[in-house]
Amino acid sequence: MNCHEAQDQIFDYQDGTLSAPEREKLEQHLAGCEECRAAFANMKEVGLKLSKQLRQSTEALTLDIDVKERVLAALPGQATPRLHWEFRPLWRRWLVPWAAAACVLALTIVIGSRFHHTPGLEPKSAQAAALPATVSATVPQVVTTRISKKEGNYVVDAFINRSQVVEQTFRPNHMARSPRN
């Protein structure tokens, strides 16, 4: 066993997860290698110091009573409203507004393409007469949320427009300018 292999087993040795033959081989190497003995002793000291410092630097922290209350209020069957700050990735926050906007855009393109006038091609008068001049469409509800931080708490504002109606008036194609001959 060389020093590199020995020091790769430092954590396993500390954890006591080496097999008996592996441990014996490692201890044989340590008995004859001062550098590895120092590295093992150093790692033990580092671990103890770091653990102690991490504990000391956080020991004054305690969970807020507000947090406890909000968790208890969220239990099933509790009367308190369950509106709470939700940790969501940005793409999920914007999914609904963007999906609604995409619906409106797609609808506009579809309707617009039916009324699109190509110069040189006059529409059939019967088809043009059958199409209404004003079109309205109902799009799914649009929800916009804003999350802000106020006095240590998160405040969620939700703006909900149910069944938004989009209305558009089109000029019939037969009124379009005829191409020059």
């Binding site: 590199h4 956080t58 509790q78 990735p89 940005l90 240590g152």
Partner: protein, 190 residues
């Protein structure tokens, strides 16, 4: 209250039982969250959301680990979202206020507050994967194979992250604090 009763309390939505869980595990989770994210108010939010998610998804808890480890797994996922969002939203003004050098502050070996501050600053300078490995090993005191299972990575990767994280901490911490290593000894990178 034992582990099984904790789980039953969460499953049944028992307020007294959940209150006891909060009392028993809340502070420990909060401290871990604080080390992961570096801000107390955000740590409080992370722990709150950890418990809310735990209430919603307790049916997924199969008992393969302790309840604390399962809760900590939820916390880790949330802290990763936190770091992604924070990295995206951090303003240039905030960036300019980030500490650029640890040598700005003079630390005496016995100054506990200064050591804690320096330690937290050094932790924030590690990448999230290295910080997670370091906290799981030296704060949560997990074994290498437990960390590997918790993070879903190999034991070799855990050891490599730990060696790197320790050498970076040695670099970031002021030498006079003598926190991480005795002079003249070095940790060998695998």
């Amino acid at each position: 209250m034992d582990e099984e009763r904790f789980v039953t309390a969460l499953r049944n939505g028992d307020p007294h039982g959940v209150e006891e869980i909060l009392r028993s595990l809340g502070d420990r989770l909060l401290r871990s969250a604080f080390l992961l994210c570096g801000r107390e108010s955000d740590a409080q939010d992370l722990v709150q959301e950890t418990f809310l998610q735990a209430i919603r998804s307790i049916h997924r808890f199969k008992g393969h680990s302790s309840l604390y480890t399962w809760l900590h797994g939820i916390l880790l996922n949330l802290s990763r979202h936190y770091h992604r969002n924070r990295d995206r939203l951090v303003s240039t003004e905030e960036l300019s206020q980030e500490p650029t050098s640890d040598s700005d502050e003079t630390c005496l070996p016995g100054d506990a507050d200064a050591i804690s501050r320096q330690l937290r600053q050094a932790l924030t300078r590690l990448s999230a994967p290295h910080r997670e490995a370091l906290i799981l090993r030296f704060y949560e005191e997990m074994k290498i194979d437990e960390i590997a299972r918790h993070l879903g990575i190999s034991t070799g990767t855990v050891k490599s992250r730990l060696h790197y994280a320790l050498s970076e901490m040695q670099r970031f911490m002021p030498e006079e604090m003598n926190l991480l290593s005795a002079k003249g000894t070095h940790l060998r990178q695998p």
